[in-house]
Amino acid sequence: MNYPDTALVADTQLPALQVVIPLLSAPLCALARNRRAAYAITLLASWSALVIAVLLLLRVHAHGTISYALGGWAPPWGIEYRIDYLNAFVLVLLSSIGAIVAAYAPASVDSEIPRDRQPLFYCAYMLCLTGVLGIAATGDAFNVFVFLEVAALSSYILISLGKSRKALNAAYQYLVMGTIGSTFILIGIGFLYMMTGTLNMVDLAERLAPVRTTRPVLTAFAFFTVGVSIKMALFPLHLWLPNAYTRAPSVVTAFIASTGTKVAVYIMIRFIFTVYGVQFAFASTPVAAALISLSLLGIFFASTAAIFQRNVKRMLAYSSIAQIGYMVLGISFVSVNGLTGGIVHLFNHALMKGALFLAVGCVMLRMKRTKLEEFRGLGYRMPVTMFAFTIAGLSMIGVPMTVGFVSKWYLILAALEKGWWPVAALILLSSLLAVVYIWRVIEVAYFQKPPEDAPPVTEAPLSMLIPLCVLTAATIYFGIFTGATAGIAHRAAEMLMAGGVH
C-alpha cells in the first residue's frame, strides 16, 4: 500500500488545519492544568496558525482561490472552506495578532489572573482564536454563525476574567447584546435558506439572483445588517463595547480589540459583496446612505467621547468605535478605492490598536491602574513603552509614514473620486479629534512630573516589550512599504467589486 507523501497531505489540508489546530489545542490547555504547559501549547498552536495563514496567502497568490471540501463532502452540500485574496489576508491578520498577543501574554496574565484559572484562560483564548479564524475561513453561511458564537462565547468568558467585579457586569451586558446580534444574523441566514435552499455562499449568490427583490430576502438583509452592526459595535449599537474593553484583562482587550470587531467587518464585506452582490445591496436599498451617515456620526461622536475619558483604556475603546466608522465608510463608498481603504484600515487598525492596548497593558503591569494620572512622567520612567505608544498614537492620527496615513489616503481618495468634498473634509477634521485625545496622553507622559511620593517604576519585562515593539515596527513598516497590504487589499477590492465570486 502506498502512503501519500505526508508533506503533500499537510499542504492540501491547510484550510482545515488553520481552524483545527487552535481548536484541538483549547481542550489540551484545559486538561494541562499547569499554567506553563498551557502557555506552551497556546504559543505553539498560535504560531503554527500564523505559519499556515501565511502559506495559504502565498498559495492564493500563486494559484488563485482555494476551495476545500470539509470531510470530503462536495460543496454546495458539504461545508466548503473557500480562501480567496480577501480572507487569506484577514486570516494572516487574525493569526498574527493571535500569535503576537500570545507571546506577550504570560507576564501580564500572571499579574491579572489567578494562577489556578490560567490554563482555563488559555483555553478560552484559543477557542476565541478558533472562532475568528473559522469565520474568516468558511464559505458556508451557517458555519459563519457557529464560529461567530464560538468566538463570542469565549470572549464573554475572557472579559469576565477582569480583576474588578465590574468585569462581570460588562461581560453580562456584552453577552445579552452579542446574543441578540448573532440571533439576528441567524434569522437572516434562515430567510436566505428559505428562499434558496442552500447555505453555501457561492451557491447562495447564484440562486439569490432570481429572487433578489422578494420580501424575505429584503428582510434577511435588514436582520443581517443590524445583527452584524451590533457585533462590530457600529454607532449607535456600540453600547456594549466601552465597558467590555475597559474591564477586560489587558491581554484580552488587545486581542479582542484587534480581532473581534474586525472579523464582523469582514462578514459584512463578504455578505454584501459576495452573497448579495453589490448591485442589490447598495443600489436597490438605502443601506449605503444609512451606513455612511451612521459611520460619520459614529466617528465624530466616539472621537469626541474619547477626548473626555479619564481612563486611557476607555479612551482607546471609544477610539475603536470611531475607527469602525472609517471601515464601514470605506465599504459604503462602493468603489474599488473606498473598499481598499476599508480593507486596509481593517488590517492597519488591528496593528495600531493592538500596539496601543499592549502598551497600556505594560503600564497596567507596573502601575496597577490605567487612569490618566498614572501616566504622569511615564515617558521617562517607561521610555520604551511610551515611545511605542507615541508611534502607534501617531498612526492613529494618520501621520504620513505610518499605516494610519495609508488608510485615510484611500478613504479620502474614494471620497474625492465621487466628488463628495464634505465627506473628505469630515475625514480630515476627525483626524484632528484623534490628535486631541492622543496628545492628552503624550502631554501627561512627557511634560508632567510624576508625583513626589510615586513609587519607583521600572520598564516592563522584555517578554512584553518585544511583542509590543514588533507590532509598533509593523505600523511603520506597512506605512512605508504599502505594496503588501494595500496591494492585496486592492486586488481583493477589485475582485469584490467584480461580483466577489470566481
Binding site: 458564537e149 462565547l153 469576565s160 462581570l168 453580562y172 441578540i180 440571533t183 434562515g190 435558506y193
Partner: protein, 120 residues
C-alpha cells in the same frame, strides 16, 4: 382570513420573538432578561423547523421499494440541533455570570448593579 390562519406557525414565531425581545429590553432582573433571550432564540428555532416541514412529508429515511414518498427537509433540523447547543451554552454562561454578579454585588437587579458601579 384562511390565509391568516394557514400560516399560524409563523404567527407563533412572531409572537414568541417579540415576547422574548421585549422581555430582554424591558426587564431589569438579569435572570428574567436571560429567560427573555432564551424565548427569543427559541422562536428562531421554530422558524427554521417550520420551513423544513412539507405537507404530508415523513421522516427522511429511504426505504427499499417505496419511491413516491414525500420527505420533510432534514437540513433545518440539523442546523437547529447546533443552534440549540449554542443557545444552551449561552444560557449556561449567562447564568454563571449572574451567579458571580450576585456573589460580588449582592443583587441581580441591573439598575442596582449600575448604581454600585458608579458609586466606586
Amino acid at each position: 382570513m384562511s390565509h391568516l390562519f394557514s400560516h399560524y406557525n409563523y404567527w407563533i414565531v412572531i409572537v414568541l420573538m417579540m415576547t422574548g425581545f421585549y422581555t430582554v429590553i424591558s426587564r431589569g432582573n438579569m435572570v428574567k432578561k436571560l429567560i427573555g433571550l432564551n424565548i427569543f432564540q427559541t422562536s428562531v428555532f421554530l422558524l427554521f423547523i417550520t420551513m423544513g416541514k412539507i405537507k404530508g412529508g415523513t421522516a427522511p429515511i429511504v426505504m427499499a421499494g417505496k419511491e413516491d414518498v414525500v420527505y420533510s427537509n432534514p437540513i433545518p433540523h440539523v442546523l437547529i440541533l447546533t443552534a440549540i447547543v449554542v443557545g444552551v451554552s449561552t444560557t449556561a454562561l449567562g447564568l454563571a455570570l449572574v451567579v458571580r454578579i450576585k456573589e460580588a454585588y449582592g443583587t441581580v437587579e441591573e439598575d442596582e448593579v449600575q448604581a454600585e458601579d458608579i458609586r466606586r
